[in-house]
């Protein structure tokens, strides 16, 4: 009993480990076993007492830190174990348990503070891209400055926390430089609230966020598997699928993974549509994605999705191209469909050292424009059908090294005859989770109609994270 009592005092959690077997309820056949247990308990007690003493010391330090308003005593404030053991005769197990629970609470509170549970989890991403382009910024079509450039693409600050028990909020602010002018501006990429406890496996997101469309559109720059967002996403979607609006996502309540997302927003991509005019619901972007997943075997799997984007009356003045015989081309209706497909080899045993990914996305744009002929006469509606795609293969052969090859093709969504293809071998060195270097060569070969020159570029990208980070669902 003395042993048991001392154990209760010295080990806050000891009862669960070694001493919580109700002896009275045991069948007689187990007496031998219990004797062995007792012997073993005694044997390990001394060592555990030492372990627990360490814990007491650590706790005392924590308590001291908590109550640092008071002058710190020169000795450790907890009584030495001998004193505790001496006191055991007058203290009941219930009191010990109460004490033990209190200490656990203090420890838990300490851990919570350490994990910043009451503050947003904050992370900072930095990303620098050194590049050398063979053509000037007006001709290379990449958005990068011509010749040599050092470009701080991301200084991304993200914060996330629960808003209340049933919703979380997050903000992603990014200070990024304009690639051509070098002018830096701080912008809010995302600021949104999302429900976490709605029935029917439903999640609602509202605010400004990256809408779920396609596969790589709603991923931040630094999380892309290569240096630059594929051209087809830049052109058809407008870079990241940034939207201001709302999105509902439904996980189908079946044994197979199927997710359905639908949303609406005043924009999807770079620029808000119909700003400064009266915006009817017909001028809003509607988007959605249906995605699923199949385990082909333990190590091979497929993920695929089908997405759509529709804006019945976009009113977007984005006529960059002026195809022959036209002075302007004003988008009036935006329609894009997207099919994505990813085949992965992720060996269960050593996936940290070995994996293969084949990712693909195919987009078809069927936008309608108002075309104004150069020769005069009234403007007429013109529908331009264009398609584009990217496909990449990435192979990982060690914890740190991956190599990949990206192929891209697209027809200009304002002029199906203006075509571009490009290819990019790349090499990624993930020094750690938080620190990554990537070297990429990209050749882009537009045809004459695009007005853009063939370009060769070399990129060296260095990205790093400090503070909080998560292995997010979307970047898997």
């Amino acid at each position: 009993m003395a042993v048991l009592a001392s154990a209760l005092v010295s080990g806050t959690n000891l009862p669960a480990q070694e001493t919580n077997q109700p002896i009275a309820s045991r069948p007689a056949g187990e007496v031998e076993q219990l004797k062995r247990q007792l012997q073993q308990m005694q044997e390990s007690f001394a060592r555990q007492q030492a372990e627990q003493q360490k814990q007491i010391e650590a706790l005392s330090k924590q308590i001291k830190a908590l109550t640092k308003a008071q002058p710190a005593p020169t000795t450790i404030p907890s009584p030495p174990p001998a004193n505790i053991a001496g006191a055991t005769n007058t203290v009941t197990p219930d009191q010990f348990r109460w004490l033990s629970d209190k200490v656990d609470e203090v420890v838990a509170a300490q851990k919570k503070t350490l994990m910043s549970e009451f503050n947003p989890a904050i992370g900072l991403v930095g990303e620098t891209i050194f590049s050398q382009q063979s053509k000037g910024s007006a001709q290379n079509g990449t958005g990068y400055a011509g010749g040599f450039d050092a470009y701080q693409r991301s200084v991304e600050l993200n914060a996330t926390a629960a808003v209340y028990p049933f919703a979380k909020g997050w903000v992603v602010a990014n200070g990024s430089a304009d690639a051509a002018t070098g002018e830096t501006s701080l912008g809010i990429e995302e600021a949104a609230v999302q429900t976490t406890s709605l029935p029917w496996n439903l999640t609602l997101t509202a605010g400004q966020f990256f809408g779920e469309f396609g596969r790589l559109s709603y991923i931040h720059d630094h999380e892309l598997p290569f240096v630059n967002r594929p051209m087809v996403l830049d052109q058809y979607v407008g870079g990241e699928s940034k939207t201001a609006g709302a999105q509902a996502s439904l996980l189908l309540p079946i044994e197979h993974y199927v997710n359905l997302t639908a949303g609406l927003g005043t924009q999807l991509g770079d620029d808000p549509d119909a700003i400064g005019t009266y915006r009817s619901f017909g001028a809003v972007n509607y988007f959605g994605r249906l995605s699923t997943y199949f385990d082909l075997s333990d190590n091979w799997n497929v993920e695929c999705g089908l997405s759509g984007l529709f804006n019945p009356d976009s009113g977007n003045v984005n006529g960059v191209l002026q195809p022959d015989g036209l002075t302007s081309l004003t988008a009036t209706k935006r329609q894009v469909v997207d099919a994505d497909f990813k085949l992965s080899y992720v060996p269960l045993r050593d996936n940290q050292f070995n994996s293969l990914t084949w990712g693909n996305e195919f987009l078809y744009s069927d936008n309608q424009y108002l075309a104004t002929p150069t020769a005069g006469g009234s403007a007429y509606a013109d529908t331009v059908g264009a398609w584009g795609m990217y496909s990449y293969l990435a192979y990982k052969w060690s914890r740190s090294w991956r190599a990949g090859f990206l192929f891209e093709y697209l027809q200009n969504d304002q002029d199906g005859a203006a075509r571009t293809y490009g290819y990019s071998p790349y090499l990624t060195w993930a020094i750690s989770h938080w620190n990554q270097l990537r070297l990429q060569y990209t050749h882009t070969q537009p045809n004459v109609a695009s007005g853009i020159q063939p370009n060769d570029a070399v990129y060296l990208q260095w990205s790093w994270i400090i503070g909080s980070h998560s292995h997010g669902w979307t970047q898997r």
């Binding site: 073993q40 496996n201 044994e255 385990d295 269960l348 292995h471 997010g472």
Partner: protein, 303 residues
């Protein structure tokens, strides 16, 4: 109307609300040792699935979307804690749309409750490496500490289904007694090798070493989750030679090349040890896994 009824029936079938399983507590564990404990404690009242099959690294279970429906329907998720599952579990929980098993809810069963971790980092940035931010999470390789996990699982089951509390406690006590007997065996088997030195690939073994009185000299990894540099390997070899370290442990999810090279250069024996049940063949329960670990270690030290 008839169509409507059959639609409801179909929906019910699809939703998996078949009455056979209705009463069982649906438990999803991250790792196979936890699944074994949950089955032992829960008996017939629980239906247990593990995300890991046993051959994975505990920090590297692939984040498969097929886990999402499993977690969506789970009453409890059981994890090792100390951020051991950081690379896959938070995102999966996020995607699961299951409020019952989120952090802070009774369905979120962190088995590290009551464990005092070793090697808790002194800095709050990542200068100490990638994967042990709250101290070493591999306490399950100490069978005495594993008892705490068993008890935590039992407590969670009692909270989830108080009507079976007596069953769960009986099962827990029976399993803990079985484990206690095995611990005596394992200690007896390891007793002749007190102070024996070894190194391993990843920092899996501090709790194991402390329990069995071994001297854990170092790891091949530079820091948990960070590959060794050539200089680190050189230093480790020097250290092993100086200290006459006889054992190199390779966990099977790590490549063999470097451990084999180190073993060859130092004359140490290279052994392969699982880190959870199923890591090597015929170790499908925790007790079999620990049997395998202790036997393999003792046999290698015998030489």
């Amino acid at each position: 109307m008839k169509l409507k009824l059959s639609f409801v029936a179909l929906l019910a079938a699809v939703l998996g609300t078949a009455p056979v399983n209705a009463a069982k507590i649906r438990v999803v564990t991250t790792l196979t040792d936890l699944a074994d404990f949950a089955r032992n404690v829960g008996g017939d009242q629980v239906e247990v699935r593990s995300l890991a099959t046993g051959i994975e690294d505990t920090h590297g279970v692939p984040m498969k979307p097929s886990f999402v429906p499993l977690l969506n329907r789970a009453d409890l998720v059981v994890l090792a804690g100390f951020d051991c599952e950081h690379a896959f579990l938070p995102a999966l929980l996020d995607a699961s749309r299951n409020p019952r098993i989120q952090l802070g809810q009774p369905g979120y069963v962190d088995c590290s409750k009551g464990i005092d971790p070793v090697e808790a980092p002194t800095s709050t940035d990542h200068s100490e490496g990638d994967v042990h931010p709250y101290g070493n999470p591999h306490y399950m390789l100490d069978p005495v500490m594993a008892k705490t996990a068993v008890s935590n699982i039992c407590d969670a089951f009692v909270t989830a289904a108080p009507q079976y509390a007596a069953d769960f406690k009986k099962n827990r006590d029976a399993y803990l007694a079985k484990l206690a007997a095995k611990i005596m065996e394992w200690k007896a088997e390891m007793a002749p090798y007190k102070g024996a030195k070894f190194v391993s690939y990843h920092e899996h073994w501090p709790y194991f070493a402390a329990r069995f009185g071994l001297d854990y000299v170092g790891t091949i990894e530079l820091k948990p989750g960070i590959d060794p540099t050539p200089r680190h390997i050189e230093e480790l070899i020097g250290e092993m030679k100086a200290q006459h370290v006889p054992i190199v442990v390779r966990e099977p999810q790590f490549p063999e090349k470097v451990p084999a090279l180190i073993a060859k250069q130092t004359g140490a024996t290279l052994i392969k040890l699982p880190i959870m049940p199923g890591g090597v063949p015929d170790t499908d329960t925790y007790i079999k896994e620990m049997d395998y670990i202790v036997n393999t270690m003792a046999n290698a030290l015998k030489k």
